[in-house]
Amino acid sequence: MRRISPWSTPVLVVSAVLITFVITAGPILAAGASPIEAYVAFVVLPLTSQFTLLEVLVTSTPILLTGAAVAIAFRAGYWNIGAEGQLLLGAIAAAGIGTMVGGLPPILALPMMVAGGAVAGAAWAIVPALLRVRFGIDEVVTTLLLNPVALLLVNGLLHGPWRDPVTGFPESPRIAASAEFPTLVERSRLHLGFLLAIVVMAAAWYILARTPAGLRLRATGLSPHGARFAGINVGATLLGAALVSGAIAGIAGVSEVAGIQNRLTGGLSPGYGYTGIVVATLGTLTMPGVAIAALFLGDLTVGASSAARSLGIPSQLGAVVQGVLLLTTVALLAVRRHRTRPADAAGGGRPGGTADIAAEVSA
């Protein structure tokens, strides 16, 4: 009764994947490979060996976190496009704290780094959030514009005070051994960050689904006016969602520094913050959805890079598939909204665009 079954979310996402495969068969054929073979290489092969399977989890770790960060903000109707910058600030904090905690045992050093990264990410998020709540300034623009600023800050540090004194490369000094995330599986790159991501997502799911604060957040995202009328402090809710979102993105930065790079580098994030938006959208802003979407994109990324070697096709085809998948999913969500809402309800004049996704998935 609530949702017509052909348009249920799982069916929709699977349809999006199938449609994507049909559409991307063209470019793959043009690259001189068999589409079927390519999809097997993209999706199935990474899951067939322990090494690649663990690599999928490693690749998914940052986007699990940024996906969760973006999804929380979007659910509140706060369009945080700044996860990339917030991630970089978290990374700066981790690199800074990581070099200073050499004397401390990991049990103290690691929580300090995670907390520091979360605070830094939230701090980077607070200015756009306050501008939005106090003055109604569009956060899409302000959060987006702070991303390159954060990258400049990283490069400024790396070319200035933090330049590696030994090698002279624009990289920060290696963090203390006690500040490195331990690996979870012998002889793999899978590190504590993955576990951290799962814990963060579980907590986020619980808060959204089971607590009054989560219900207030959802209510605010679905109808700010209705929420305010019911006595919910909409400004505080938006601010809270923005800060939590920034903090989680910051933790993604910590995870990459402490788990992978062990130092701050200019190429730390190949756009994990932006991929987080893709993951959140594909995951229809729910935590289980975000988890599946992040793992799937991780799978595709690992698969695409090995397919590049085995099939001799450009590794960018993985990004092409991801991009088409995003567009297909958004298109299907739009079609579903059109189909499942009775015409008289559609006359209400809901704002278009991404805002609809929040309403779409939360019912």
């Binding site: 009054p212 219900l215 209705g226 305010r228 008289d344 209400g348 019912a363």
Partner: protein, 521 residues
Amino acid sequence: MRQPLRARPSRTHSRQRAVTDSAPALELRGISKRFGSLVANDDIDLDVRGGEVHALLGENGAGKTTVMRIAYGLTHADAGEVRIDGRPLTVRSPRDAIEAGIGMVTQHFALVGPMSVAENLALGRRSRGLVLDLAEARRRAAHASERFGIRIDPSATLADLSVGQQQRVEILKALSRDCRVLILDEPTAVLVPAEVDALFATLRALVAEGVAVVFISHKLAEVRAISDRISVLRRGTLVGTVPGSTEERELARLMVGRPDFGIERPPDARPAAGDSVLTVTDLHATGTAGLPVLTDVTLGVRAGEIVGIAGVSGNGQTELVEVLAGMRRPTRGTVRVGGEELAGGDPRRMMRAGIGRIPEDRHASLIGDLSVAYNLVLERLDDFRRGGRIDEPAIHAHAEELIARFDIRARPDDPVAALSGGNIQKVLLARVLSRNPRVIVVSQPTRGLDVGATEYVRSQLLERRAAGAAVLLVSEDLDELLALADRLIVMYEGRTVGEMTRSEADLERLSMLMAGREAAA
């Protein structure tokens, strides 16, 4: 030429003949439409002739709007055919309908707020060439205003107009596209009596020129006053098409399947006495453009009393309710409940002080995509927590109880947006009344509701009055005010301009006050 609302104008024999002889301008054949398991229209046949006002009468959810949305291309039929002048018409979208000469004024206006009336009218027309000819649009607006007696300033900004005035712009828009079949969906829902008279005069001018008017309504009196023929829908099926002169009693029987309706207030047992529970003193507020919307508003409501606010829409009633609901900050003045000063308080503050709030926009006051159960507890989530988490079983039980008590046709987990208007209003009513507020601020409580739901809502308000609540009732429906209120206060241009007890109230005096003229006596 103006006809009083209640009095049925007698039609001349020749007029009746002319109507009967003309070919149907709009024909619907076998229209069926389902929304999921709901049958909105079941094999509906209808013909509307040029030069007649044809009413579509029925309760909410009877399928009146749906069938006309199909004719206008806003909804697609599962089966059936639309014909214009006897020729089948494929209506894929409103564009097809507009080109065939069908116009529709829906309840949700398709107007651009920041633009002027003339610009909105220009937007409504198919553009010829690249340059927007505003002078032409303004001229057409003025011409149409004059020709159809719809007075509106073409250069006024749309957002500054009242809902009633915006509706006039919508009608003008349809007319300026030279439509021959004009569909009006509940057009009087936003109008006061004087405006209704003006609208009816306009409609009569239109039918005199051969336009076919489809008038969707659930109000018997006005349907009888304006219609040549009345088609009655009940639960998706056409019950019958009857002459406009059919008795109200008969119409009601066709519409709801039961002869008695309406509510009579019991005679005053004990007039309320004592101090006011809700006191508003010298209240001022400004609107979007910094213009005053409330000036020197002063009123009081005692326990066990219903005070009605009468007035033409757009004279500050909405803003007054917003201030009392905590949704608008006044610039000056006091709002007190039981001595506690509340002016400028947020919604939470107002609720804590014991104000129950039921504003006119019931959809925006709830969260459509959340469940009925959540909406019922949203104002008091802290009462439904166990430890740090939401107490889902308690919320569910609470919803079950209120659903039974307030006769809400829904399950706890249904999203509010899936409910009918009457049930949405009941959800809001249940949320407010279940907290036993000492003050109830309620605006347009029965607008758009069917007979059964209207009766229910009114009886609930009377019950609260009997239980000692102070009720401030804002309504554009004078019958409703006269039926429910102990005292009436008239608002005009943001001021309280007159006050009278119900026994003193008469239509003449109220109309004068509502029109901004000082009462003689």
